[in-house]
């Protein structure tokens, strides 16, 4: 089938303030393409389905193996990593849209700074005295606990769970699901846990954990199968205990 094609319908936008528009593209079929490799073909041949030369579609990507989190977008309506979306598995025309919960920068590129700001807010790190060697390891961690922590440590800040969450909106205060996984992760580290109250307080106020509507969409879409709802349930308990503690300390 020499004339088999791959068809795309792409939602484009020239800048944050510009109006979005749709544009169709076609390219010759070849097996083994994913959405990133197809976009690479299209940027080399920036010609729309009407044969007009247009500005190439822009998108973010780096690792091309689903660990950096850069290339998340809506593919046929589902938030996922473009590099791991095999063309052969997708219905055509393949519809590409930028994630809708973040401001569009241009075409498929969105600004996810809000997610990094959240990591700052929740203090997602294990405080250390310094980077120098203190001639000791971290305290012992059981293989079982390690394997649970490992699940959470793979969050690549891609934003798919945020996109799927009905409570997380561009103009809502809700911090969104991904940061909760990081609170859960750092709170379970033997020395990270010394600072649990700080992290818990960061998710106890407005926009925090009580704003979760329990829709459970987040776990459905997470490409890393991160048990987000487990984290949220666990943190529900931890914040309640913290709330009671705070009553006595006050």
């Amino acid at each position: 089938m020499a004339d088999r094609e791959i068809q795309f319908n792409v939602k484009r936008q020239d800048g944050p303030e510009a109006a979005p528009y749709w544009e169709e593209f076609t390219m010759p079929y070849s097996s083994g393409h994913n959405v990133v490799s197809a976009l690479m073909y299209l940027r080399e041949h920036p010609c729309n389905a009407n044969g007009e030369t247009v500005n190439p579609v822009v998108w973010d990507c780096n690792c091309m193996e689903e660990v950096c989190g850069a290339c998340a977008m809506l593919i046929n309506g589902v938030p996922r990593q473009a590099c791991a979306a095999l063309v052969d598995d997708l219905e055509q025309p393949i519809v590409l849209e930028p994630l809708s919960k973040f401001p569009v920068v241009r075409d498929l590129v969105v600004d996810r700074q809000r997610m990094f700001d959240a990591l700052l807010k929740i203090k997602a790190w294990v405080p250390v005295d310094g980077s120098w060697d203190i001639h000791r390891h971290a305290p012992l961690i059981s293989p079982n606990e390690q394997s649970i922590r490992y699940l959470f440590s793979r969050c690549m800040t891609c934003g798919c769970c945020m996109e799927a969450c009905p409570q997380f909106q561009q103009d809502s205060k809700f911090i969104g699901p991904a940061p909760f996984a990081q609170v859960r992760l750092h709170n379970s580290h033997p020395t990270g846990s010394f600072f649990n109250p700080d992290r818990l307080h960061a998710i106890m106020g407005e926009g925090g954990i009580t704003d979760c509507g329990n829709a459970q969409n987040c776990v459905e879409v997470c490409p890393k199968d991160i048990p987000l709802t487990d984290a949220i349930a666990e943190l529900g308990r931890q914040t309640t205990i913290q709330w009671i503690r705070d009553l006595f300390v006050r």
């Binding site: 020239d14 070849s30 083994g32 994913n34 990133v36 690479m40 073909y41 940027r43 080399e44 920036p46 030369t53 500005n55 822009v58 973010d60 990507c61 780096n62 690792c63 091309m64 193996e65 660990v67 950096c68 989190g69 850069a70 590099c83 791991a84 095999l86 052969d88 598995d89 920068v105 241009r106 590129v109 996810r112 990094f116 990591l119 700052l120 203090k123 997602a124 790190w125 294990v126 405080p127 250390v128 310094g130 980077s131 120098w132 060697d133 203190i134 000791r136 390891h137 971290a138 961690i141 059981s142 293989p143 390690q146 490992y150 440590s153 793979r154 690549m156 800040t157 992760l185 580290h189």
Partner: protein, 628 residues
Amino acid sequence: MATKPKVIVVGGGVGGLWATIRIVERNVPVDLFSLFPVKRSHTCCAQGGINAVFDIKGQEDSVWQHIVDTIKGGDYLADQPPIRSMCEAAPGLVRTYDRMGVTFSRTPEGIMDQRLFGGVKNRRTAFAGATTGQQLLYAADEQVRACEADGKVTKYEEWEFLSVVLDDKGTCRGIAAMNLNDMTVHTFRADAVILATGGLGLIFGRSTMSTNSTGAAASRVYQQGAKFANGEFVQFHPTAMKGHDKLRLMSEACRGEGGRIWVPRTPGDTRDPREIPESERFYFLEEWYPAYGNTVPRDVASRAEFRVVRHMGLGVGGQDIVYLDLSHHPRAFLEARLGAILDMYRTFSGEDPYTGPMKIFPAMHYSMGGILVGFAKDEQTGGMQSIHPDNHQSTIAGLFACGECDSAFHGANRLGANSLLSATYSGMIAGDASVAYTKGLKNGSADTADRHFESEKNRQEEINQALISSDGTENPFALHRELGELMQEHVFVERDNKGLDKALEGIRQLRARSARMRVDDKATRVNQSLSWARQIQDMIVLAEVIAKGARMRDECRGSHYKAEFELKIPEGKFEGDPEFERYKAKWKANNEKWLKITVATHAKDGPKIDYRPVDLSVLAPTKPRDYR
């Protein structure tokens, strides 16, 4: 210095992040530049692990053995005092990662586990599931975020480094960078600059690397006068799967955990691999190298695959493919040890690696060469002084380099799991060195005349303008594809001088054509085509450094292989045998001629190549490598 010092770090992989942490610990503020949020850096691709000797597997492992393995693995082509210091520092660095919360895999007793990796005989590699690089990157990213919370780090993410700003004496006083949102050029002052911009895999078109690994930043400072060392030494990884966008790595851990490499003994065998009986499978690594079997070093494995496919015609289905098989292991074991890697294979190929073999072939994977950096030797210990302004400083005063973009530690080849270590260690050392350097400065960058910054800004804006307004015919993405094809044809696993001459000729043509590029994107925001067009010009310059170094080096060493100059070990002969002794004499003579570091200096008509001696003060070569 009258004003308070400031350092710029370019790049936020583990190298740049460790440099940042160290500088902040010494109370100097950092401006950190990266093409995208640093958490997305290429380091996240590293799967297998990081080397550090803890000797917890009853194998009497030692730091000395790690030093010896690193030196020999690099075929003696790296200065040895830094290797010694790096291996000595490794356990401390990995302990620090552990304290930072890295989810290292554990032994039943709850301490960090260690696994086997290619090229060594001891279990020395700490790992976090199959995503060690991601975990180490995140730990460093989190610590830098803590520094950010304290107001000590300012991040410039989605900015592209374009050049360093030099004063009249040629000292580095800052950088020029482009905001990748509105494509405007700005200059920034700094008393020292650290480049931590990663590898250069994209010069080979597709590789195991990420889109940030173009080598463009290193090329830019090379064109401004920094010397580039050992460019011809490029590691080809023996186990990568094919793809239109990249050649995805199947980690060395696959071999470490018992993966077996084979092809059907009958050429063109079309049977389902699962139906081919043991006796009809050719486990060529096990047969040819019984002592190491499937865990021979990467270059040995890559060439063996090449030989089996290209010379013996045994490639699976007549293609550039051999099998990497783990399907003899129980599923639960594989899921626990290699889950992420095998899932990736399934995701990107659509085939199941738990029940059948994977299809792989060698791919460009790591650049041992890079920006030439110095070190201050410690005569007492034989290592390098831990804090000294010479450490990791390039040949441009005030410009440092760390991580994969520098040329230290790995010589002619890199051991698996040694580069997360070298990126971490060199980041630490370069960070400390940059602060020591600023302390010795009489005048800071605040005293540098504005005109240096203005003229650099103008120069960069002119490059942009020329590309945007060009009515040329050359497509920057097509040029990149052609560059990759050329490099994979002639500057790959096996090299010969005829082919290298063709490569050099082809590169010169590409360079001429790159002056006639057209940028299809006419937008003024997020213009990725403009950014790419600039990068491809710089990649072509480094490609010439790599190809010319390879052309001139008439020997086989580490990853650099020219059949014509191979000194073959006489089969079945060992030390004491006259035939073996004759071979050894030839090997010695070759070392006298070629055991020296290639140093490239930029010139208008192409790189000028010189050589300098290697510091062999820790372990001088006495015997050739022998993996039989």
